[in-house]
Amino acid sequence: MAGVPTQRWVARVNALCLHAWSKPLLFVLMLLPLVTLVAAVALDQLSANPAQALVRSTGDWTLRSLCLVLAVTPVRVGLHLPALARWRRLLGLFVYFYATLHLLTYSWLDMGFELNDIAHDIPKRPFILVGFTGYVVLAALALTSPSWVVRLMGGKNWRRLHQLVYVVAGLALLHFFWMRAGKNDFADVWLYTAIISLLLGWRLVRAVNFMKNKPMSL
């Protein structure tokens, strides 16, 4: 294992992350995209087609929050910032929050809450089914986020369930890829795929190393 970090700045950053105000600040920061979107709607700055812009940007922010929450553990371990663990649940809940807004804007602004139309829309656009599946999994993770549920489930089960976030990441990327496939416009898709692959790849390497270092037990 790496030695104890001696750099003072690491200790300082860690202390800042432990500060009582760090979590409320993160909360406000994560709300900024929503505030910006609402302001843009109010000021008519959201292109000529604000409905579509809202559906797309809430989707973008779901993906961005997902990248953030998946980055917590690699950054925490890599930079020796144990305090970052405190932020993980909040960031995870924001993934669910923006995903909910994304689903809501689609079903309201795009489909006018016509369940019949939505039911007809889904087989035509399988990428919506992929996105919705991801949303259902996210909902399960959000519902099991309170501490008392963690205690109730037991750490091992809870951890196993919450590893489904990797499945969510895959579904989100497939959903995004499929949506952009119509225009062969994949630049952003590759960018997010690269980021998420890096974050998940780090975990894979770590797991392999862990298995290697573990004495074989028969």
Partner: protein, 332 residues
């Protein structure tokens, strides 16, 4: 058995519906008044109000392009015209990028003068037409058309131009000409999108000759009383109002008359998704979404339900006969 009694079977008019005796008796003098033009003047002011609802101020961003009224049936819809700002900032023009905001940002460096259009293929008089000559070839008319994008949104745009048929007649297609192919500019130096692999450049579109000859098919040089802004296809473009917007090529450089159906850019990119005809049709879904409804840009509020899309974008009376007996699901 349902027996209608006197009170149920006869619907009495409400008092306000009954024409007063005096008005009834004076109807002849009313007609006489109208004939004498007195009421005509009153009607004129009423019509003027209607026209006002249609009016827009020329945005004052480009050179004015004068036009006359059109005699083409269906050439002027009375619907509310979309704001110039929306029409000139929300564009699909992939030569400048796939984002709707890209064209207005990147198209301004495009040189549109000098400009010429080559007429090629099965015509008696092929040749190169300078833009100045094309502008004068026929009287510029104002046409207010609905524009329906394949993506499910629509606008109402006052174009300036003339029926493409005027140019076609001038170059005299041969009997063997069955289709018209439209080739648009693809200049990697001034069009950043052309460097990407989104489509097979140049962008090519096509029509059947009879579609191209239809009076509604417009060769447009302007919109909102001014020459076209670059992001909308300056200096000249096609407008085929009953087909999805992508059929109307922008910044045309070549018009070719052919015997075989042209291989259009979108046919090459995704044949099963974008057919050659691409007529607006709510009954024929895009493979990946419904075409049943549309959102009118700038008019329908954020929470307004989308409006119903009309067959041939509402131009069925004018163009329906072009497709008599044709299976529109097969030839989508």
């Amino acid at each position: 058995m349902l027996i209608k009694s006197n009170s149920q079977g006869f619907v009495h008019p409400i008092t306000s519906d009954i024409t007063p005796l005096a008005a009834y008796q004076s109807r002849r003098s009313m007609i006489r008044l109208m004939a004498n033009g007195v009421a005509g003047a009153a009607l004129a002011s009423w019509a003027g109000r209607e026209a006002l609802a249609q009016a827009w101020a020329p945005p004052g961003k480009h050179a004015a392009l004068a036009s006359v009224k059109t005699a083409v049936v269906g050439g002027v819809t009375m619907e509310k015209v979309t704001d110039y700002k929306d029409v000139s900032t929300y564009n699909n023009f992939y030569e400048f990028g796939v984002d709707k905001a890209d064209p207005v940002q990147y198209a301004q460096a495009l040189p549109t003068s000098p400009w010429h259009v080559d007429i090629e293929g099965l015509v008696k008089k092929p040749g190169r037409f300078a833009l100045e000559d094309l502008l004068k070839l026929s009287a510029q008319e104002e046409r207010i058309y609905r524009l329906r994008c394949v993506e499910g949104w629509s606008m109402v745009i006052p174009w300036v131009g003339y029926s493409l048929s005027a140019l076609i007649r001038k170059v005299e297609p041969l009997g063997s000409a069955k289709y018209v192919e439209f080739v648009t500019l693809a200049d990697p130096k001034t069009m950043p999108g052309v460097r990407s692999q989104v489509l097979d450049w140049p962008y090519v579109e096509g029509l059947r000759l009879d579609e191209a000859l239809h009076p509604l098919t417009l060769l447009a040089f302007g919109m909102y009383g001014e020459v076209l802004p670059k992001q909308s296809g300056a200096p000249l473009r096609l407008v085929v109002p009953w087909k999805y917007g992508f059929k109307s090529g922008k910044s045309l450089v070549k018009i070719r008359f052919t015997e075989n159906q042209p291989k259009t850019a979108w046919n090459k990119a995704a044949l099963h998704e974008y057919g050659f005809y691409s007529n607006v049709n709510p009954a024929v879904d895009h493979p990946r979404w419904s075409q049943d409804t549309e959102r009118r840009i700038g008019e329908d509020g954020l929470f307004t339900k989308k409006r119903k899309t009309l067959l041939f974008n509402g131009y069925e009376a004018q163009v329906g006969q072009l497709y008599t007996g044709m299976d529109l699901k097969k030839y989508f």
